[in-house]
């Protein structure tokens, strides 16, 4: 019970803050709560398949296979796969991190994990279609063309900036989940 309370400490704290806001400024509090309820519904709707897929991936795909296609010696093949998987995903950015953890557990190269996160964050296919219809094809295409090298550069800078030990810690941390 105490362990559970400790884990949800920050959640309870912010929940308290939201309720206090409700008392001080009712319309603002209601608005905050309604957005939260909305995001909660979004989470309940989108998150389950992500985690089920993640579980299936973890159980069925052998580490050797993942390493062959996306591991340290996967070269351009791994980069392209990371882009495709990230772009095909649906769901908010916070859904990408648990998937990234399973990738690391399976021995996917660190820079490919970062490319996957970059692609999930900004080159998702359904989002692109939506962006093109609201803001115009030129806008969406320009952003896509800058984002592809941008994601690669960010992944490269981050993976060369991070010490080997730090990467090892992150990987061993990921294998616990």
């Amino acid at each position: 019970m105490i362990k559970l309370l400790k884990r949800y400490k920050i959640f309870l704290l912010i929940l308290g803050a939201t309720l206090i806001l409700m008392l001080i400024n009712r319309p603002l509090g209601i608005k905050a709560l309604s957005v939260t309820v909305y995001s909660f519904k979004e989470m309940i709707l989108i998150i389950p398949p992500i985690f089920v897929l993640l579980g299936l991936l973890d159980i069925w795909i052998p580490r050797e296979t993942m390493m062959k296609y996306m591991g340290d010696n996967s070269g351009i093949k791994g980069i392209i796969l990371a882009f495709i998987i990230g772009s095909a995903a649906a769901g908010p950015l916070y859904g990408a991190f648990p998937v990234a953890a399973v990738f690391m557990k399976k021995g996917v190269k660190f820079s490919n994990v970062l490319i996957f996160i970059g692609a999930w964050s900004t080159t998702k296919v359904p989002m692109f279609l939506f962006e093109a219809s609201s803001l115009g094809l030129t806008f969406a295409l320009t952003r896509l063309f800058i984002n592809i090298p941008g994601i690669l550069i960010i992944a490269w800078i981050l993976s060369s900036m991070t010490k080997k030990e730090t990467i090892e810690t992150i990987y061993s941390n990921a294998s616990k989940f």
Partner: protein
């Protein structure tokens, strides 16, 4: 898209189940464990999104990055995009409205870019997997990169 995900997941689950019941059970257990593990952080993110969007609403965003706000507007737009998390189907129409209201393409480019790549409210989740240092570095780099995106979008879209 959500429906496609469900159908795909269901098909894979059925294939998995008919091949090996025990392994499927294990996979579902893994899925639940992974979810339960990150649930506190997910709930924090969802509450933060609610609080932030109540304060930073589209009207305020429109005021901040309105017409002729220039480079200052680009910075504000990038900051607003970085700290909020707005679902795409609200964000894009809002951005389109802002454009109609006179905001520049550069500001909107910065806003959309940081909105998607930088996640201040999702940091609790990111930190749990990647640690504080890497999370901050990734978000800072993505934030800086968004200005490049803004600049190029400003050049390309307005020149057409």
């Amino acid at each position: 898209m959500t429906l496609t995900m469900y159908i795909l997941t269901l098909i894979l689950l059925i294939i998995s189940f008919t091949t090996n019941k025990i392994k499927t059970k294990k996979a579902l257990k893994k899925a639940w464990k992974a979810f339960e593990h990150i649930l506190p952080e997910f709930l924090v993110v969802i509450l933060l999104v609610g609080l932030l969007l109540a304060i930073i609403n589209p009207e305020l965003i429109a005021k901040l990055i309105g017409p002729s706000s220039g480079w200052f507007g680009v910075i504000i737009a990038a900051v607003v995009g970085a700290i909020t998390l707005i679902p795409g189907f609200i964000a894009f129409p809002t951005a389109a409205l802002l454009l109609d209201g006179g905001a520049g393409y550069m500001q909107i480019g910065a806003f959309i870019s940081t909105l998607m790549m930088v996640g201040v409210v999702t940091m609790p989740v990111e930190i749990k997997y990647f640690g504080k240092k890497l999370t901050i570095q990734r978000n800072l780099l993505a934030f800086a990169f968004s200005f490049v995106v803004a600049l190029i979008i400003g050049l390309v879209v307005t020149s057409i």
